[in-house]
Protein backbone atom coordinates (compact mmCIF):
# COMPACT_ATOMS: atom_id res chain seq x y z
CA UNK A 1 0.00 0.00 0.00
CA UNK A 2 1.41 3.32 -1.01
CA UNK A 3 2.01 5.87 1.73
CA UNK A 4 0.21 9.18 1.38
CA UNK A 5 2.76 12.00 1.67
CA UNK A 6 1.73 15.25 3.26
CA UNK A 7 3.15 18.56 2.06
CA UNK A 8 4.26 19.39 5.59
CA UNK A 9 6.31 16.19 5.66
CA UNK A 10 7.96 17.19 2.38
CA UNK A 11 8.84 20.59 3.85
CA UNK A 12 10.33 18.93 6.94
CA UNK A 13 12.52 16.74 4.74
CA UNK A 14 13.56 19.68 2.56
CA UNK A 15 14.52 21.69 5.65
CA UNK A 16 16.48 18.78 7.12
CA UNK A 17 18.46 18.38 3.89
CA UNK A 18 19.12 22.09 3.65
CA UNK A 19 20.27 22.29 7.27
CA UNK A 20 22.53 19.25 7.09
CA UNK A 21 23.91 19.41 3.57
CA UNK A 22 23.10 22.87 2.18
CA UNK A 23 21.22 21.45 -0.80
CA UNK A 24 17.86 23.09 -1.46
CA UNK A 25 15.00 21.06 -2.88
CA UNK A 26 12.58 23.82 -1.89
CA UNK A 27 12.25 24.99 -5.47
CA UNK A 28 11.78 21.62 -7.08
CA UNK A 29 8.41 21.05 -8.75
CA UNK A 30 6.30 19.50 -6.05
CA UNK A 31 4.35 16.84 -7.93
CA UNK A 32 7.38 15.13 -9.45
CA UNK A 33 9.45 15.53 -6.26
CA UNK A 34 6.64 13.94 -4.27
CA UNK A 35 6.49 11.10 -6.74
CA UNK A 36 10.24 10.50 -6.43
CA UNK A 37 9.81 10.40 -2.65
CA UNK A 38 6.99 7.84 -2.99
CA UNK A 39 9.28 5.72 -5.09
CA UNK A 40 12.12 5.95 -2.56
CA UNK A 41 9.77 5.06 0.33
CA UNK A 42 8.71 2.01 -1.61
CA UNK A 43 12.09 0.85 -2.95
CA UNK A 44 13.91 1.31 0.37
CA UNK A 45 10.93 0.11 2.42
CA UNK A 46 10.49 3.09 4.72
CA UNK A 47 7.37 2.97 6.84
CA UNK A 48 6.80 6.69 6.64
CA UNK A 49 8.30 10.04 5.71
CA UNK A 50 9.62 10.63 9.23
CA UNK A 51 11.83 7.54 8.99
CA UNK A 52 13.13 8.60 5.59
CA UNK A 53 13.82 12.12 6.86
CA UNK A 54 15.72 10.80 9.91
CA UNK A 55 17.81 8.47 7.78
CA UNK A 56 18.66 11.14 5.18
CA UNK A 57 19.54 13.66 7.90
CA UNK A 58 21.83 11.35 9.84
CA UNK A 59 23.37 9.06 7.22
CA UNK A 60 25.50 10.91 4.66
CA UNK A 61 26.11 7.95 2.33
CA UNK A 62 22.37 7.37 2.27
CA UNK A 63 21.86 11.04 1.46
CA UNK A 64 24.20 10.65 -1.52
CA UNK A 65 22.12 7.70 -2.66
CA UNK A 66 18.94 9.70 -2.09
CA UNK A 67 20.27 12.48 -4.36
CA UNK A 68 20.75 9.97 -7.15
CA UNK A 69 17.37 8.36 -6.66
CA UNK A 70 15.53 11.65 -6.58
CA UNK A 71 16.84 12.86 -9.92
CA UNK A 72 15.21 11.62 -13.11
CA UNK A 73 17.51 10.02 -15.65
CA UNK A 74 15.23 8.75 -18.40
CA UNK A 75 16.58 9.69 -21.81
CA UNK A 76 16.87 8.44 -25.38
CA UNK A 77 19.20 8.89 -28.32
CA UNK A 78 17.78 11.36 -30.83
CA UNK A 79 14.76 11.90 -28.60
CA UNK A 80 12.37 14.17 -30.54
CA UNK A 81 13.93 13.44 -33.95
CA UNK A 82 12.50 16.65 -35.39
CA UNK A 83 14.56 18.60 -32.86
CA UNK A 84 17.76 16.93 -33.99
CA UNK A 85 16.79 17.51 -37.60
CA UNK A 86 16.40 21.19 -36.83
CA UNK A 87 19.84 21.23 -35.22
CA UNK A 88 21.33 19.59 -38.29
CA UNK A 89 19.52 21.70 -40.86
CA UNK A 90 19.28 25.12 -39.21
CA UNK A 91 21.72 25.43 -36.32
CA UNK A 92 24.79 23.62 -37.63
CA UNK A 93 24.99 25.79 -40.79
CA UNK A 94 25.19 28.86 -38.54
CA UNK A 95 28.08 27.56 -36.44
CA UNK A 96 29.98 25.60 -39.08
CA UNK A 97 32.51 28.34 -39.74
CA UNK A 98 33.37 28.87 -36.09
CA UNK A 99 36.97 27.91 -35.36
CA UNK A 100 35.72 25.94 -32.36
CA UNK A 101 32.14 24.96 -31.56
CA UNK A 102 31.65 24.81 -27.81
CA UNK A 103 28.72 22.73 -26.62
CA UNK A 104 27.37 22.07 -23.14
CA UNK A 105 25.06 19.22 -22.24
CA UNK A 106 24.02 20.72 -18.93
CA UNK A 107 22.33 17.63 -17.47
CA UNK A 108 23.68 14.83 -19.60
CA UNK A 109 22.24 11.90 -17.63
CA UNK A 110 23.54 8.59 -18.97
CA UNK A 111 24.87 10.26 -22.10
CA UNK A 112 22.40 9.32 -24.84
CA UNK A 113 22.10 12.93 -26.04
CA UNK A 114 25.87 13.37 -25.89
CA UNK A 115 26.29 10.44 -28.27
CA UNK A 116 23.47 11.80 -30.43
CA UNK A 117 25.21 15.17 -30.67
CA UNK A 118 28.56 13.55 -31.41
CA UNK A 119 27.01 11.47 -34.19
CA UNK A 120 25.16 14.46 -35.66
CA UNK A 121 28.33 16.56 -35.61
CA UNK A 122 30.39 13.80 -37.14
CA UNK A 123 27.94 13.32 -39.96
CA UNK A 124 27.97 17.08 -40.57
CA UNK A 125 31.77 17.07 -40.70
CA UNK A 126 31.94 19.29 -37.62
CA UNK A 127 33.04 16.90 -34.93
CA UNK A 128 36.73 17.72 -35.05
CA UNK A 129 36.15 21.36 -34.22
CA UNK A 130 33.60 20.62 -31.52
CA UNK A 131 34.45 20.74 -27.82
CA UNK A 132 31.67 19.10 -25.86
CA UNK A 133 31.28 19.57 -22.13
CA UNK A 134 28.81 17.20 -20.51
CA UNK A 135 27.78 17.50 -16.89
CA UNK A 136 25.32 16.01 -14.45
CA UNK A 137 24.75 16.18 -10.72
CA UNK A 138 24.87 12.39 -10.51
CA UNK A 139 28.30 10.83 -11.06
CA UNK A 140 26.81 7.34 -11.49
CA UNK A 141 25.09 8.33 -14.71
CA UNK A 142 28.28 10.06 -15.89
CA UNK A 143 30.11 6.76 -15.36
CA UNK A 144 27.47 5.08 -17.54
CA UNK A 145 27.91 7.71 -20.23
CA UNK A 146 31.70 7.20 -20.20
CA UNK A 147 31.28 3.45 -20.48
CA UNK A 148 28.88 3.84 -23.41
CA UNK A 149 27.16 0.57 -22.55
CA UNK A 150 23.40 0.53 -22.92
CA UNK A 151 20.76 -2.19 -22.73
CA UNK A 152 20.48 -3.62 -26.23
CA UNK A 153 16.68 -3.47 -25.98
CA UNK A 154 16.89 0.35 -25.89
CA UNK A 155 18.66 0.46 -29.23
CA UNK A 156 15.51 -0.33 -31.16
CA UNK A 157 13.89 2.90 -30.03
CA UNK A 158 17.15 4.82 -30.43
CA UNK A 159 17.55 3.47 -33.95
CA UNK A 160 13.95 4.32 -34.75
CA UNK A 161 14.57 7.90 -33.57
CA UNK A 162 17.73 8.07 -35.69
CA UNK A 163 15.76 6.96 -38.77
CA UNK A 164 13.16 9.66 -38.14
CA UNK A 165 15.99 12.12 -37.79
CA UNK A 166 16.97 10.99 -41.30
CA UNK A 167 20.55 10.21 -40.44
CA UNK A 168 22.61 9.21 -43.48
CA UNK A 169 23.66 5.85 -42.02
CA UNK A 170 22.22 3.34 -39.61
CA UNK A 171 22.59 3.90 -35.89
CA UNK A 172 24.21 0.48 -35.62
CA UNK A 173 27.20 1.90 -37.45
CA UNK A 174 28.00 3.50 -34.09
CA UNK A 175 27.69 0.57 -31.70
CA UNK A 176 28.34 -3.13 -31.38
CA UNK A 177 25.93 -5.44 -29.64
CA UNK A 178 27.21 -8.20 -27.41
CA UNK A 179 24.58 -10.20 -25.56
CA UNK A 180 22.18 -7.92 -23.74
CA UNK A 181 24.25 -4.77 -24.22
CA UNK A 182 25.14 -2.35 -26.93
CA UNK A 183 28.62 -0.81 -26.75
CA UNK A 184 28.96 2.63 -28.27
CA UNK A 185 31.95 3.53 -30.42
CA UNK A 186 34.00 5.36 -27.81
CA UNK A 187 35.77 7.42 -30.49
CA UNK A 188 32.61 9.52 -30.28
CA UNK A 189 33.84 10.74 -26.89
CA UNK A 190 37.21 11.96 -28.20
CA UNK A 191 36.17 15.61 -27.86
CA UNK A 192 33.88 15.17 -24.89
CA UNK A 193 34.72 16.12 -21.29
CA UNK A 194 32.44 14.86 -18.53
CA UNK A 195 32.21 16.49 -15.13
CA UNK A 196 29.97 16.34 -12.07
CA UNK A 197 28.16 19.67 -11.88
CA UNK A 198 25.13 20.96 -10.01
CA UNK A 199 23.07 23.11 -12.33
CA UNK A 200 21.38 24.86 -9.43
CA UNK A 201 24.33 25.78 -7.24
CA UNK A 202 27.35 25.44 -9.52
CA UNK A 203 29.08 28.30 -11.31
CA UNK A 204 29.95 27.98 -14.95
CA UNK A 205 32.95 29.95 -16.17
CA UNK A 206 33.29 28.65 -19.70
CA UNK A 207 31.44 30.09 -22.69
CA UNK A 208 29.30 28.04 -25.01
CA UNK A 209 27.84 28.33 -28.47
CA UNK A 210 25.21 25.65 -27.92
CA UNK A 211 23.64 24.61 -24.62
CA UNK A 212 21.28 21.65 -24.30
CA UNK A 213 19.02 21.52 -21.26
CA UNK A 214 16.20 19.27 -22.38
CA UNK A 215 13.59 17.99 -19.93
CA UNK A 216 15.44 19.18 -16.86
CA UNK A 217 13.62 22.42 -16.08
CA UNK A 218 10.33 20.53 -15.76
CA UNK A 219 11.55 19.31 -12.35
CA UNK A 220 11.99 22.89 -11.09
CA UNK A 221 9.45 25.54 -10.18
CA UNK A 222 9.33 28.78 -12.18
CA UNK A 223 11.67 30.88 -9.98
CA UNK A 224 14.34 28.19 -10.16
CA UNK A 225 13.81 27.78 -13.90
CA UNK A 226 14.36 31.50 -14.24
CA UNK A 227 17.55 31.33 -12.19
CA UNK A 228 18.99 28.53 -14.34
CA UNK A 229 18.07 30.28 -17.60
CA UNK A 230 19.79 33.44 -16.30
CA UNK A 231 22.88 31.33 -15.58
CA UNK A 232 22.85 30.02 -19.15
CA UNK A 233 22.50 33.53 -20.54
CA UNK A 234 25.70 34.51 -18.74
CA UNK A 235 27.81 31.71 -20.15
CA UNK A 236 26.71 31.83 -23.79
CA UNK A 237 28.32 33.49 -26.75
CA UNK A 238 26.22 36.17 -28.44
CA UNK A 239 23.94 34.45 -30.93
CA UNK A 240 24.50 31.15 -29.11
CA UNK A 241 21.75 28.54 -29.04
CA UNK A 242 19.84 27.23 -26.04
CA UNK A 243 17.64 24.16 -26.47
CA UNK A 244 15.03 23.00 -23.95
CA UNK A 245 12.56 20.11 -24.11
CA UNK A 246 9.75 20.04 -26.65
CA UNK A 247 7.13 20.92 -24.03
CA UNK A 248 9.27 23.25 -21.97
CA UNK A 249 9.30 27.00 -22.53
CA UNK A 250 11.38 29.85 -21.20
CA UNK A 251 8.58 32.27 -22.09
CA UNK A 252 7.42 32.68 -18.47
CA UNK A 253 10.89 33.44 -17.14
CA UNK A 254 12.16 36.99 -16.69
CA UNK A 255 15.56 35.93 -17.99
CA UNK A 256 13.89 35.09 -21.32
CA UNK A 257 14.56 38.75 -22.19
CA UNK A 258 18.12 37.68 -23.00
CA UNK A 259 16.90 35.42 -25.77
CA UNK A 260 14.99 35.48 -29.02
CA UNK A 261 13.06 32.48 -30.30
CA UNK A 262 14.96 30.62 -32.99
CA UNK A 263 12.54 27.72 -33.38
CA UNK A 264 9.24 27.82 -31.51
CA UNK A 265 8.35 24.30 -32.56
CA UNK A 266 11.64 22.73 -31.42
CA UNK A 267 12.21 25.05 -28.46
CA UNK A 268 15.52 26.48 -29.58
CA UNK A 269 16.34 29.97 -28.37
CA UNK A 270 19.12 32.30 -29.40
CA UNK A 271 21.06 34.62 -27.11
CA UNK A 272 20.37 38.18 -28.21
CA UNK A 273 23.22 40.04 -29.82
Amino acid sequence: MEIEIDIKEIRTLVTAIKTNYGFDFGEYALSSFKRRLSRILEVYKFENMQKLTDRVATDKPFYELFLKEVTVNTTEMFRDPSFWKKMKESVFPLVKDFPVIRIWHSACSSGEEVYSMAIALKEAGLYDKARIFASDINEDVIAKALEGKYPARNMELNGFNYEKYEGPKKLNNYFKTNGDYAYMDLDLLKNVTFKKFDLVQGDQFQRFDIILCRNVLIYFNLPLQDQVIAKFAKCMSLGGFLAVGSKETIAWCKSAENFSTFSLEEKIYQKKI
Partner: protein, 188 residues
Protein backbone atom coordinates in the same frame (compact mmCIF):
# COMPACT_ATOMS: atom_id res chain seq x y z
CA UNK B 1 -24.36 18.72 -8.32
CA UNK B 2 -22.00 21.53 -7.56
CA UNK B 3 -18.80 22.58 -5.85
CA UNK B 4 -16.49 21.04 -8.46
CA UNK B 5 -13.23 22.44 -9.81
CA UNK B 6 -11.88 20.03 -12.42
CA UNK B 7 -12.67 17.10 -14.68
CA UNK B 8 -10.10 14.40 -15.42
CA UNK B 9 -10.66 11.82 -18.17
CA UNK B 10 -8.53 8.74 -18.77
CA UNK B 11 -8.75 6.44 -21.76
CA UNK B 12 -6.80 4.34 -24.20
CA UNK B 13 -7.70 2.08 -27.08
CA UNK B 14 -11.19 2.87 -28.31
CA UNK B 15 -11.44 6.11 -26.34
CA UNK B 16 -10.89 8.59 -29.16
CA UNK B 17 -14.51 8.81 -30.45
CA UNK B 18 -15.74 8.93 -26.85
CA UNK B 19 -13.53 11.85 -25.94
CA UNK B 20 -14.56 13.63 -29.15
CA UNK B 21 -18.17 13.10 -28.14
CA UNK B 22 -17.58 14.46 -24.64
CA UNK B 23 -15.73 17.52 -25.94
CA UNK B 24 -18.45 18.24 -28.47
CA UNK B 25 -21.15 18.10 -25.80
CA UNK B 26 -19.50 20.54 -23.38
CA UNK B 27 -20.60 24.18 -23.68
CA UNK B 28 -18.19 26.85 -24.89
CA UNK B 29 -18.05 28.46 -21.46
CA UNK B 30 -17.49 25.20 -19.58
CA UNK B 31 -16.59 26.24 -16.03
CA UNK B 32 -13.85 23.62 -15.44
CA UNK B 33 -10.49 22.67 -16.85
CA UNK B 34 -10.64 19.21 -18.45
CA UNK B 35 -7.51 17.06 -18.17
CA UNK B 36 -7.20 14.38 -20.82
CA UNK B 37 -4.81 11.55 -20.00
CA UNK B 38 -5.03 9.41 -23.12
CA UNK B 39 -2.59 6.82 -24.34
CA UNK B 40 -1.16 7.79 -27.67
CA UNK B 41 1.45 6.78 -30.17
CA UNK B 42 4.77 7.88 -28.81
CA UNK B 43 6.32 9.24 -31.92
CA UNK B 44 3.45 11.11 -33.37
CA UNK B 45 3.76 14.45 -31.71
CA UNK B 46 1.30 16.39 -33.84
CA UNK B 47 -2.12 15.60 -35.18
CA UNK B 48 -3.84 14.26 -32.10
CA UNK B 49 -4.64 17.64 -30.62
CA UNK B 50 -5.97 18.84 -33.99
CA UNK B 51 -8.12 15.73 -34.37
CA UNK B 52 -9.64 16.27 -30.93
CA UNK B 53 -10.14 19.98 -31.59
CA UNK B 54 -12.27 19.63 -34.72
CA UNK B 55 -15.55 18.94 -32.96
CA UNK B 56 -14.69 20.32 -29.54
CA UNK B 57 -16.51 23.37 -28.24
CA UNK B 58 -13.61 24.25 -25.95
CA UNK B 59 -9.96 24.75 -26.94
CA UNK B 60 -7.84 21.60 -26.73
CA UNK B 61 -4.16 22.20 -26.06
CA UNK B 62 -1.06 20.25 -25.16
CA UNK B 63 0.20 22.30 -22.25
CA UNK B 64 3.75 23.43 -21.73
CA UNK B 65 5.38 22.71 -18.41
CA UNK B 66 4.19 25.15 -15.68
CA UNK B 67 1.31 26.39 -17.83
CA UNK B 68 -1.46 28.12 -15.87
CA UNK B 69 -4.66 26.13 -15.55
CA UNK B 70 -7.81 27.88 -16.77
CA UNK B 71 -11.43 26.79 -16.89
CA UNK B 72 -12.96 26.03 -20.27
CA UNK B 73 -9.81 24.50 -21.69
CA UNK B 74 -9.02 20.84 -22.33
CA UNK B 75 -5.41 19.91 -21.53
CA UNK B 76 -4.17 16.88 -23.43
CA UNK B 77 -1.17 15.09 -21.93
CA UNK B 78 1.62 15.59 -24.50
CA UNK B 79 3.28 12.68 -26.24
CA UNK B 80 6.04 11.03 -24.19
CA UNK B 81 5.40 13.13 -21.06
CA UNK B 82 3.44 12.48 -17.89
CA UNK B 83 1.06 15.33 -17.12
CA UNK B 84 0.74 16.38 -13.47
CA UNK B 85 -1.47 18.90 -11.75
CA UNK B 86 0.87 21.01 -9.64
CA UNK B 87 -0.08 23.01 -6.56
CA UNK B 88 -0.45 26.69 -7.43
CA UNK B 89 -2.83 26.09 -10.32
CA UNK B 90 -0.26 25.04 -12.90
CA UNK B 91 0.50 21.93 -14.90
CA UNK B 92 3.84 20.18 -14.56
CA UNK B 93 5.22 17.69 -17.05
CA UNK B 94 7.59 14.85 -16.37
CA UNK B 95 9.70 12.37 -18.30
CA UNK B 96 9.88 9.92 -15.40
CA UNK B 97 9.81 6.19 -16.09
CA UNK B 98 6.78 4.76 -17.82
CA UNK B 99 4.09 3.42 -15.52
CA UNK B 100 2.24 0.32 -16.76
CA UNK B 101 4.16 0.74 -20.03
CA UNK B 102 2.62 4.16 -20.45
CA UNK B 103 3.85 7.72 -20.70
CA UNK B 104 1.59 9.64 -20.40
CA UNK B 105 0.33 7.61 -17.47
CA UNK B 106 -3.35 7.89 -16.60
CA UNK B 107 -2.62 6.83 -13.02
CA UNK B 108 -0.21 9.70 -12.48
CA UNK B 109 -2.52 12.38 -13.86
CA UNK B 110 -5.34 11.10 -11.63
CA UNK B 111 -3.01 10.83 -8.65
CA UNK B 112 -1.65 14.38 -8.90
CA UNK B 113 -5.01 15.93 -9.85
CA UNK B 114 -6.84 14.34 -6.94
CA UNK B 115 -4.04 15.34 -4.57
CA UNK B 116 -4.76 18.96 -5.49
CA UNK B 117 -8.53 18.93 -6.13
CA UNK B 118 -9.61 16.22 -3.67
CA UNK B 119 -13.45 16.13 -3.49
CA UNK B 120 -13.67 18.93 -6.08
CA UNK B 121 -12.63 16.60 -8.87
CA UNK B 122 -14.63 14.39 -11.20
CA UNK B 123 -12.65 11.46 -12.59
CA UNK B 124 -13.84 9.47 -15.60
CA UNK B 125 -12.34 6.25 -16.97
CA UNK B 126 -13.45 5.14 -20.44
CA UNK B 127 -12.50 2.43 -22.92
CA UNK B 128 -8.96 1.06 -22.92
CA UNK B 129 -6.92 -2.10 -23.27
CA UNK B 130 -4.84 -2.08 -20.09
CA UNK B 131 -5.31 -1.39 -16.40
CA UNK B 132 -3.74 2.07 -16.33
CA UNK B 133 -6.04 4.45 -14.50
CA UNK B 134 -7.26 1.92 -11.92
CA UNK B 135 -4.72 2.93 -9.25
CA UNK B 136 -5.24 6.58 -10.07
CA UNK B 137 -8.99 6.43 -9.73
CA UNK B 138 -8.70 4.42 -6.53
CA UNK B 139 -6.53 7.14 -5.00
CA UNK B 140 -8.88 9.80 -6.34
CA UNK B 141 -11.78 8.04 -4.65
CA UNK B 142 -9.84 7.80 -1.37
CA UNK B 143 -9.30 11.55 -1.54
CA UNK B 144 -12.99 12.18 -2.02
CA UNK B 145 -13.20 12.65 -5.78
CA UNK B 146 -16.37 11.82 -7.66
CA UNK B 147 -15.63 8.76 -9.80
CA UNK B 148 -17.23 7.48 -12.96
CA UNK B 149 -16.44 4.52 -15.17
CA UNK B 150 -17.85 3.98 -18.60
CA UNK B 151 -20.22 1.04 -18.62
CA UNK B 152 -17.91 -1.83 -19.68
CA UNK B 153 -20.71 -3.37 -21.75
CA UNK B 154 -20.63 -0.30 -23.94
CA UNK B 155 -16.84 0.20 -24.06
CA UNK B 156 -15.04 -0.84 -27.23
CA UNK B 157 -12.39 -2.41 -25.01
CA UNK B 158 -13.58 -2.98 -21.48
CA UNK B 159 -10.29 -3.80 -19.69
CA UNK B 160 -9.78 -0.27 -18.44
CA UNK B 161 -13.26 0.50 -17.06
CA UNK B 162 -13.41 -3.04 -15.65
CA UNK B 163 -10.14 -2.49 -13.80
CA UNK B 164 -11.35 0.85 -12.46
CA UNK B 165 -14.59 -0.69 -11.19
CA UNK B 166 -12.62 -3.48 -9.55
CA UNK B 167 -10.15 -1.06 -7.93
CA UNK B 168 -12.69 1.23 -6.28
CA UNK B 169 -16.39 1.65 -5.69
CA UNK B 170 -17.37 3.99 -8.52
CA UNK B 171 -19.95 6.66 -7.80
CA UNK B 172 -21.45 5.96 -11.21
CA UNK B 173 -21.15 3.47 -14.02
CA UNK B 174 -22.57 5.23 -17.07
CA UNK B 175 -22.91 5.05 -20.82
CA UNK B 176 -21.05 7.65 -22.81
CA UNK B 177 -24.27 9.64 -23.39
CA UNK B 178 -24.92 9.68 -19.66
CA UNK B 179 -21.31 10.73 -18.99
CA UNK B 180 -21.77 13.67 -21.36
CA UNK B 181 -24.99 14.69 -19.65
CA UNK B 182 -23.43 14.41 -16.22
CA UNK B 183 -20.37 16.48 -17.13
CA UNK B 184 -22.60 19.21 -18.56
CA UNK B 185 -24.83 19.20 -15.46
CA UNK B 186 -22.17 19.74 -12.80
CA UNK B 187 -21.50 23.23 -11.45
CA UNK B 188 -18.61 24.97 -9.69
Amino acid sequence: MNNFKAVVIGGSAGSFPLVVKILSSLPKDYPFPVFLALHRLKHIRNGFVEALSIKSNIPVIEPHDKQQIKPGIAYLAPSNYHMYVELGNTIALSTEEMVKYSRPSIDLTFDTASYVYKDKMVGVIVSGANTDGADGIRKSKERGAYTIAQNPDEATIKTMPDAAIKAAQMDHILTIDEICKFLVSIKP
